[in-house]
């Protein structure tokens, strides 16, 4: 019985930390004796510390994974795959929380509940990654989405922010409804919600010829619900609006953390839970459409956050290439793609947050960044080149491995579309770099130097991006282990 608690100890810790921080924030920020202090930085640092302690608990608890056999027939399963995914998730959450502190100071953003909600959604994403049952998956997805609806609308006086929150709410509620409909169809046709049972029922599905329309509809609706949540095309309706209107730290969270956890969940459902019944065509179509739209639509953008939104849509398309071929190599390339995507996105959003002082919204405002702030310009161009897939940066390695995996499983059209859209996408990334280095803006903008946390974060991520090609084998072997343990 004690093994049960040991196995889920990181989640227990982060739930307790969330509630203690909530109570601490409420008690002290409403105390008249201390003159109602705004506690957001305080709670923020404590929240960051608790995320790091959770990471430590998770990383040090590796031998306990094999002991938690009480879990295995119920809702959660922890193995190598969830171990590394959760480590990645906690690392990216820690990185994005550390980006926020400057934002709180400048915008005079006093609500400490922001951090509490982020911690709660992190906990739910930890559950989501290790979820092994349709019920647990749905509940964890809902908890994470609900927290994000609130923080997307957290700047209450701003029209942009409330509209982004409204759109995100409607989109998220709609997609959760579709997901739940798919779950109910699958439950109705198979009588099972646990992924082990589903795997046993759906293994020979294609071969037996007993086509059940209920299972087909169920898988289709679950796939559509998931694709809504990772903002793949053609289900990306309001995603650029949401990314643009939310406050920038929230956009950073939105583009990193849910994607990691929802991809992990998708892998469980579609590769483990229903390997025979998965509609591969829908993922092919969505990845091709996402790549094409991400490349073409980003060309016409004039605002930085919208450009990053469209480029993340395109990148999701590339990552779905690894998903569409169901081989181990495909899964491994997907996981490498997610890891590198998370690091690049943390980098990009740290830079956007650093340039925030003078409200840089439009790309044209970045003009002549090279003359006023050369190191920032070089970092930004490294990140943009990595997004574009220029060797020898990390983005190139991830795209190369994704196309390699696609070719290896025979998806030649997918790989060729990927290469073509990658080349088309180079255009607008390099245009951004050109604006920074070679353009002169109409009004010169003076940027303050950024604070210590963001500069540390930028140094770590951009050094990883540049030096990844020298020693990529730890990441490759880790993701290979993850992909293997997914199949077992």
């Amino acid at each position: 019985m004690f093994n049960l608690f040991l196995a889920v100890f990181p989640e227990i810790f982060i739930i307790n930390a969330t509630f203690i921080l909530l109570i601490h924030g409420v008690v002290f920020s409403t105390s008249k004796k201390d003159d109602y202090p705004p506690l957001v930085s305080n709670v923020g640092w404590l929240g960051l510390l608790s995320v790091l302690i959770t990471l430590l608990l998770l990383a040090a608890g590796a031998p306990l994974l094999t002991i938690a056999h009480l879990f295995w027939n119920n809702f959660f399963r922890r193995d190598n795959f969830t171990y590394f995914c959760q480590i990645l998730l906690l690392l990216s959450t820690a990185g994005t929380i550390s980006m926020c502190f400057d934002f709180f100071e400048q915008e005079r953003f006093d609500a400490f509940e922001f951090i509490v909600l982020i911690l709660l959604s992190t906990c739910s994403m930890l559950f989501m990654i290790s979820a092994y049952d349709l019920i647990a998956m749905y509940l964890a997805i809902e908890l994470q989405s609900l927290c994000f609806y609130v923080i997307a609308a957290s700047k209450r006086k701003s029209e942009f922010s409330t509209e982004a929150g409204l759109k995100y709410l409607i989109l998220g509620a709609f997609s959760s409804g579709i997901l739940l409909f798919g779950c109910s169809m699958i439950y109705g046709s198979t009588g099972a919600t646990h992924f082990d049972q589903l795997a046993k029922i759906l293994t020979g599905y294609e071969i037996t010829g007993a086509r059940s329309s209920g299972i087909f509809m169920g898988i289709l609706f679950i796939a559509v619900g998931f694709l809504f949540k990772i903002t793949a095309v053609p289900f990306h309706m309001w995603a650029p609006d949401i990314y643009e209107g939310s406050p920038t730290p929230v956009t950073a969270f939105l583009s990193i953390a849910p994607k990691i956890s929802i991809f992990a969940n998708m892998l469980r459902v579609f590769i483990y839970g229903s390997y025979g019944a998965t509609l591969q065509q829908i993922f092919f179509f969505c990845s091709i459409a996402s790549m094409i739209l991400g490349a073409l639509a980003a060309m016409a953008q004039t605002k930085v956050k919208r450009l990053l939104a469209y480029s993340s849509i395109g990148h999701v398309g590339y990552i779905c290439i690894g998903f569409s071929c169901g081989t181990i190599e495909g899964i491994q390339s997907l996981l490498i793609g997610i890891f590198i995507y998370a690091l690049m996105t943390i980098d990009a959003f740290a830079i956007v947050l650093a340039l925030r002082q003078t409200r840089v919204k439009y790309i044209a405002d970045l003009g002549a960044l090279a003359k006023t702030n050369p190191i920032l310009a070089i970092t930004f161009s490294i990140t943009m080149f990595s997004y574009a897939g220029i060797p020898p940066l990390a983005g190139f390695c991830s795209k190369f491995y994704l196309f390699f995996a696609a070719l290896g499983c025979g998806a030649y059209f997918l790989a060729s579309v990927g290469v073509v859209t990658s080349v088309i996408g180079c255009f607008y990334y390099i245009r951004l770099v050109k604006r920074m280095f070679f353009d002169t803006p109409r009004t010169w903008i003076l940027y303050e130097p950024m604070d210590r946390d963001k500069s540390l974060l930028l140094a770590m991520t951009s050094s990883f991006i540049t030096l990844f090609f020298l020693y990529p084998s730890p990441l490759f072997s880790v993701t290979h282990q993850m992909a293997l343990s997914l199949y077992l």
């Binding site: 749905y138 209450r156 029209e159 509209e163």
Partner: protein, 102 residues
Amino acid sequence: MIISILGIRGILLNRRNIPIMSMPIESMLLAVNSNFLVFSVSSDDMMGQSFASLVPTVAAAESAIGLAIFVITFRVRGTIAVESINSIQGAGPFSLGERIRF
């Protein structure tokens, strides 16, 4: 099941005002819930009923958050017409011709 499809249609084809959006969402979740209960009774399994007791919790929390967001949207804007949700404008992929400038 038909109710949930009507709910999907209701969200997509909303032309009146914003708080009405929460009704199709609720009806979708409730219809799916009854779907679960029917399947659980017909296949004599308990999992459907346990799921069906958890889903309305989520639905209630979501409608509470939805109403809170509608209220702050109304406070900022002063209107609840659906047409006014267009302050975030972007250049879509179809305005490419005039936008490319080197």
